[in-house]
Every structure is written in structure tokens, then in C-alpha cells.
Amino acid sequence: MSTLAGYFSYAVTIFLLVAGLFIIIARGNLIKKMVGLGIFQTSVYLLYIAPGKLVGGTAPIIAPGFHVYSNPLPHVLILTAIVVGVATLALGLALAVRIHEAYGSIEEDEILEQDNADAGSKERGG
């Protein structure tokens, strides 16, 4: 395998990592932030899974004729990480719904504006 192709999965991992982080920082919409967080977390799945695969390797079941096995442990770990990611996404979206009920918006700047207006009126009115 050529060197470039060997690094392909790493390149994708890094791209997803940076792209996800960028979306989280650059987007003010809470749903888009959650999308960014999802992409960010997905990059880690790839980081774990890709090195566990051996070219020509099979599932780790002892059988005649097979001598090269892939490492199953990363899959198990990432299964856990996916569950955690789903829970985080669910909780984040639930919070976004509650925020929408309370503020009538899921845009970060509009929410901040409302909070600042509250704080301002409190200082003036006591």
C-alpha cells in the first residue's frame, strides 16, 4: 500500500475533527452546534476503528485457514462511545427545545440579547 493511501484515514479523521470544532465555534444556531459536535465526535470513532483493521484480516474467530485477525477491541470501545454520543445529542436537542420554549429562539446572539436586556432592566428598575 502506498504511503499516501495509508494515511488516508488519518487525513479524514483530522478533517472531521477540525470541521466539527469549526462548526461549533462559528455557528450561533444551537442545532447547528449540535451537528458540529456530532461530526467532531464521529472523527474519534474513525481514529479508533481504522487502525484496528489489518489488510486481509478477518473477524477474530479461530478457524482453519485463517492466520490474520483484526483487533475487535476498538469496535467494542467505539460502540460505547457511539452510545455516549447519541445520549449527548439527545440531551443537547432536549435542552435546545427547552431553550426555544423559554426564549422563543435558538440563535445564540438573540438569546444573549434577551439576557442582557433582562440584566439591564433589573439594574435600572431594581
Partner: protein, 517 residues
């Protein structure tokens, strides 16, 4: 097999079982009973583990194999002196805060959500205890997420709508931190092929100079620093502490950031080894300056806060600076200061937030008496009272015990002799002098002056400003006052008798430094 051998598993299993039980019971009172019983049992288990570890020779640890699978293949629970110290802190705080929260959340959380509050509290406790006790890198991540996810929910239970945005912000920042930690663990796993921390430390020796190990160190440091709110990664903390229910703030301030510090110490000393972390890299310098910025920057910002809860939230960021400052010395005395401050600051800050919870409760009743009729304890559109300074004028007349407690715990934040905070400062100064950094001694004393300034703001308003007309003595309910004062007395106790705190911390620090080489 005797029960004593099963204590490490019980430590995590008890609160973990209490959480679904609380949900199934669907009743606030019953859930409270179950979760409190579990927390007290966990505290008893932690005491048992601490006694067991004390009997071992220095450097040894209790190793518990989950499902009897031998490490490094199976998951190992490992209790050494440091772990048992942190376990005591976390479970002890839960044991004190839970009885308090019954009276506190009556006024802050709608009654039909109470059983969920207790379930989330139990899960949070499970996660924090699990992070501390486990000897498996990926297990740390799983428990970290268990505690974090339940923490986000607990914060979002706050009455103010800003609690929701604070929880969301913390969710984003916390998940980024956790993902950084997994990336770091992933690199370590790629380099060593093992997830067991002790086994990882041995195998890392052979590949120490490879770049992925440094990348792992960087990712872990940044990720954990986000979780422990190291300056400038602390932005999630002030809002989360300010708008969370009072009991939650007290528990988080005392435990969540402290457990993150524990993870950092664990990775630095028990996995990477301090020669790689502190001698080959400029990490001590970086950490020193970040700590100083936290000690001065955050404390300075605290002085100008108008909300008492937010003031002490910023103070927490500053106090975490002292903990990381101790780490940056990379010496036994410095590490002792860090470890001992985990407990000293945790106890003092939890006492303060519990007492503020009493103030908020009284303000809530006062506000609701004039406002809408009560709806099952908590009016749906009740005014959520913020403990701002203009409402605290002359508070010492109305709530003398509460105010006096805050002042004593505040003295501990300053580091006045006779309080627990002094012990930390003492060891920090010894560590600084040991390395010939005399200027740091002056800097540490100077930063204490900032703490004097923000504690004095409270004293000035509560004791010297005239109370509004017609205010009568209205102390916080005893159910809230007793747990809070228990911690205030502990602050004084640990300031005078340091045999438990410093004794354990010093043993733990020596053990870590010896094993870390």
C-alpha cells in the same frame, strides 16, 4: 468471599443501583430515602477502603478485578492512597448535600420532578466515584460522561431560564473536553495496545520519545483542563454554578472539578511519569502562568460581581489556580498542597454555596408570599430570586448564623491561620521556597488579598449596611443549616488538626512521585 474484598465494586454499584430505583419509585420522598441511603453507604464504603489502604505498605494499592478477569485484559478497579482520599471527599460531600437538598429543592424545583433530581444526583455520584476508582483508561471516559450528562441535567433544573443556556454551554464545552480526552486515550492505546493504566505506564517507557505520546499528552491535558476549569478554559463554570439549584452548585463545586484534577494527576504521575511531563517539556512553566492568571484574573473579576453565587463561582476558578499551582512545582510538597486543597477548598466552597442556598430559600418564600398563590409548593411563574448584593443589605440581622458561616468559610478561602485554607497556602509557600522561587511567596500572599477583597464585600453589605425596614429575624430552615454548618466546622477542624488531611495527602504525594519516576 468476605464483603471487605468487594468494597471497590460496591463503591460504584450502590449509587448506580439507586438511580434506576429512584426513577421506578416515582415519588420524591422515597427516591430521597433510597439515594440518601446509597450515598451514606457509599461514604461508609469509602471509609472502609481508606482504612484498608492505610494498612497496606507505602506504594501498594488495592486491586479489584471486575468479573475476575485479570488485568490488563479485564477492567481493574484500583484504590491507592490518592484515590481513597478523593473517594472520601466525593462520597462525603454527597452524604452531606443530599439531606440538605430535600429542604432546598422544595423551593427551587417543581415537586413532580424531585424523583428525577435524586436519580440524576445518584448517577452523577456514580460517575465521579467511578472515575476515581477505575484503573482503566476507557472506563474513565465512560464514567466521565455518566457524571457529565447527569450534571448537565441537574444544572438545567435551575429555576431561571438562564440555567438552560448555562447547561447547554456546559454541554458543548464538556463534550469537547471529553472528546479531547478520548482522542488522547486513543493515541495512548494505539501506542501501547493496552487500556489498563498501570500496564500502559510500563509499556509507555519503551515508546516515550515517539511523537504520538506527546500528542496524547497534549490532548489529555487540554481535555482535562476544560473539565477542571483551568483558566482560560473556565467560561462554562460561572454561569453553570450561578443558575444551577443551590444544592447542585454546592455538590459540583466540591467534587466535579476536583475529580478532574485527580484525573490529571493520575495521568501525569501514574501513566506518563513526571520525568516526561515535568522535566522534558515546558509544562511546569505553562501551568505556573495559567495558575497565576487564574489566581489573579478570576479573583479580580470576582470582586466586581453583583450576584453572590457568581462571585463565589469566580472565586472557585481562582482557587483551582492554587491547586494547579501546586502541581506545577512537580515536588512532593507542591503535590501535597494540591491534594490537600482538593478537600480544603471543596469543603469550604460547598459550605458557602449551601449557606447561600439558605438565603435563596428565604428570599424565595418572601417573594412568593407577595406574589402568586402557591401551586404544589412552587408557583409555576414564581419570581426566581437572585442573591444580589442590594437584597442582602443588613442580612446579618435576619440570618446571623448563615452570615457567620459564610464569613468563616470565606476566611478559609483567604487562608487565615486556623482555617483549612491556611494549610494549603503553607504547603504552597514551602514548595515555592524549596525551589528558591521567593517571588512566588509574595505573589501567593498578594493573591490572598484579592480573596480578602471579595469576602469583605459580603461582610460590608451583610454586617454594616442598614437592613430594610420591617425585616425580622428569619434564619434558614434547620434542615439546611445543619449540613452547611457541619462543613463550616469541618473547615475549622481541618485547619487545626491536619493529621487526616495532610497525613493522607503527604503519603499520597510521596507514593505518586516515587512511582512516577
Amino acid at each position: 468471599m468476605s464483603i471487605a474484598a468487594q468494597l471497590p465494586a460496591l463503591q460504584v454499584a450502590l449509587p448506580l443501583l439507586a438511580a434506576p430505583l429512584a426513577v421506578l419509585l416515582r415519588h420524591g420522598g422515597l427516591a430521597f430515602a433510597v439515594v440518601t441511603a446509597a450515598a451514606w453507604a457509599a461514604f461508609a464504603v469509602a471509609i472502609g477502603l481508606w482504612l484498608q489502604v492505610g494498612q497496606l505498605e507505602a506504594g501498594a494499592a488495592i486491586s479489584y478485578h471486575i468479573g475476575s478477569w485479570a488485568p490488563p485484559w479485564g477492567i481493574e478497579y484500583r484504590v491507592d492512597r490518592l484515590a481513597s482520599f478523593v473517594l472520601l471527599l466525593v462520597s462525603g460531600m454527597a452524604a452531606v448535600v443530599l439531606p440538605y437538598s430535600r429542604a432546598s429543592i422544595l423551593r427551587e424545583i417543581p415537586r413532580d420532578l424531585h424523583y428525577l433530581y435524586y436519580a440524576m444526583f445518584a448517577l452523577c455520584l456514580t460517575g465521579l466515584l467511578g472515575i476515581t476508582i477505575t484503573g482503566d483508561a476507557f472506563n474513565i471516559f465512560v464514567f466521565l460522561e455518566i457524571s457529565s450528562l447527569s450534571t448537565y441535567v441537574l444544572i438545567a433544573l435551575g429555576r431561571d431560564r438562564r440555567a438552560l443556556t448555562a447547561a447547554f454551554q456546559y454541554l458543548i464545552m464538556g463534550s469537547i473536553g471529553a472528546t479531547f480526552i478520548v482522542v488522547g486515550i486513543g493515541f495512548l492505546y494505539l501506542m501501547t495496545g493496552t487500556l489498563n493504566l498501570a500496564d500502559m505506564a510500563v509499556r509507555l517507557r519503551e515508546v516515550e520519545s515517539h511523537r504520538p505520546v506527546l500528542v496524547a499528552l497534549a490532548f489529555l491535558t487540554v481535555g482535562i483542563s476544560l473539565k477542571l476549569a483551568l483558566f482560560p478554559l473556565h467560561q462554562w463554570l460561572p454561569n453553570a454554578y450561578t443558575y444551577a439549584p443551590s444544592a447542585v452548585t454546592a455538590f459540583l463545586a466540591a467534587t466535579a472539578t476536583k475529580v478532574a484534577v485527580y484525573v490529571l494527576i493520575r495521568f501525569y504521575y501514574s501513566v506518563f511519569g513526571d520525568s516526561l511531563v515535568f522535566h522534558d517539556l515546558p509544562l511546569p512553566q505553562i501551568m505556573l502562568w495559567l495558575s497565576l492568571m487564574a489566581m489573579f484574573g478570576a479573583s479580580f473579576v470576582a470582586i466586581f460581581q453583583n450576584n453572590l453565587k457568581r462571585l463565589f463561582a469566580y472565586s472557585s476558578v481562582g482557587q483551582i489556580g492554587y491547586i494547579t499551582l501546586g502541581l506545577s512545582f512537580a515536588s512532593v510538597n507542591g503535590l501535597t498542597a494540591s491534594v490537600v486543597h482538593l478537600l480544603n477548598h471543596g469543603v469550604a466552597k460547598a459550605a458557602i454555596f449551601l449557606l447561600i442556598g439558605g438565603i435563596v430559600a428565604r428570599m424565595a418564600t418572601a417573594a412568593n408570599r407577595d406574589a402568586v398563590p402557591m401551586l404544589r409548593g412552587v408557583p409555576a411563574d414564581a419570581v426566581s430570586p437572585e442573591p444580589t448584593f442590594d437584597r442582602l443589605a443588613g442580612l446579618s440581622k435576619r440570618m446571623p448564623l448563615t452570615c457567620f458561616g459564610i464569613v468563616i468559610a470565606g476566611l478559609s478561602l483567604i487562608g487565615v491561620p486556623g482555617t483549612a485554607g491556611f494549610v494549603t497556602k503553607w504547603y504552597l509557600i514551602i514548595a515555592a521556597m524549596e525551589q528558591g522561587q521567593w517571588w512566588l511567596v509574595g505573589v501567593i500572599l498578594l493573591s490572598s488579598l484579592l480573596a480578602v477583597a471579595y469576602v469583605w464585600r459580603f461582610v460590608e453589605v451583610a454586617y454594616f449596611r442598614a437592613a430594610p425596614e420591617g425585616s425580622e429575624k428569619n434564619e434558614a430552615p434547620l434542615a439546611m443549616l445543619i449540613p452547611a454548618w457541619l462543613l463550616v466546622i469541618a473547615t475549622l477542624w481541618f485547619g487545626l488538626d491536619t493529621s487526616f488531611t495532610v497525613g493522607t495527602a503527604l503519603d499520597a504525594a510521596q507514593e505518586l512521585v516515587k512511582n512516577g519516576r
